[in-house]
């Protein structure tokens, strides 16, 4: 759980990187092939520098990998990082399933006939 918490904090940064529509679009283009930064820049109504900045955010979040080929910089997704991002939603699901179970138990306990509650101690 300590690990989980740290883990969650760290992985939130991945979600930050993914929380921008342009970056998500860049990510999907990079999943289909390995475009160069200049080809990506052609696809958006923004400056080369702006696109480069988006790629840098994705790269720092560990979602894409950049490599140089001649004068070009090629970008591709890191499927492992995406898988980890999915893991976070999975973990969030587990957290909430457990919470819902505890809520359900608590409601059942509250609604149980009184003679069953005497064993529950200090709740009354």
């Amino acid at each position: 759980m300590v690990v989980d918490e740290l883990n969650e904090r760290a992985t939130d940064h991945v979600f930050h990187a993914l929380a921008d529509a342009t970056r998500r679009d860049i990510l999907s283009r990079c999943a289909d092939g390995e475009p160069s930064v200049s080809r990506l820049a052609d696809a958006y109504p923004m400056s080369f520098a702006a696109v480069q900045k988006h790629v840098a955010v994705l790269e720092r979040a560990g979602l894409v990998i950049k490599r140089r080929r001649g004068r070009e910089q090629l970008v591709r997704t890191d499927p492992e990082a995406l898988r980890r991002a999915r893991q976070v939603l999975d973990r969030l699901e587990t957290t909430w399933r457990e919470r819902v179970n505890r809520m359900s138990d608590l409601l059942a306990e509250e609604n149980a006939p009184e003679d069953h509650e005497t064993t529950k101690g200090t709740d009354q």
């Binding site: 991945v14 930050h16 929380a19 998500r24 939603l89």
Partner: protein
């Protein structure tokens, strides 16, 4: 009864969960409203939560911590951004320092909870969204990319451990 459906939207970074309870909406609402009740379900038994402050109204703030087996404490905060008792509430939540103050550079997420009558009981729809575009931009502006890279490195280490 418990969870009846779960939807994960990876693009929207959203988890939607639907649960049905065999209890009236008012009673389910009190699970969120009463700090002593939240403490019974928010944290797992190994990390029980203590809600020190819980102001469950529009603009109200909550401060809590979870205590680990070693006595380690992990602080969090809520802020109620919209509320319509006993039907719906929208809460922004995040990490806090050991005095319960939100850590601004840590990401926050949004919980939306809605209750409706269903089949003689209550249906709870919970939506949790990582909504941090602005915070991300803020992070980049503040030049904290190194922090991000460090955090991701840490994540890698933890995940492969």
């Amino acid at each position: 009864m418990s969870v009846t459906s779960v939807d994960k939207d990876f693009e929207q970074l959203t988890l939607t969960l639907i649960a049905d309870f065999d209890a009236p909406a008012e009673q389910v609402w009190r699970l969120w409203e009463d700090p002593r009740k939240i403490e019974r379900w928010w944290g797992p038994p190994t990390y029980p939560a203590t809600f020190e402050r819980h102001d469950f109204k529009q603009g109200g703030e909550t401060a809590y911590y979870m205590t680990g087996p070693e006595g380690d404490k992990h602080y969090g905060w809520w802020k109620v951004t919209a509320i319509d008792p006993p039907r719906s509430v929208e809460i922004t939540e995040g990490f806090a320092d050991d005095e319960g103050r939100p850590i601004p550079e840590m990401p926050a997420s949004i919980m939306r909870m809605r209750l409706s009558d269903h089949d003689g009981g209550t249906r709870m729809e919970l939506r949790s969204t990582f909504d941090s575009r602005e915070q991300m931009d803020q992070l980049v502006e503040m030049g904290m990319e190194e922090g991000l890279a460090g955090a991701v490195g840490q994540m890698d280490a933890l995940l492969t451990a």
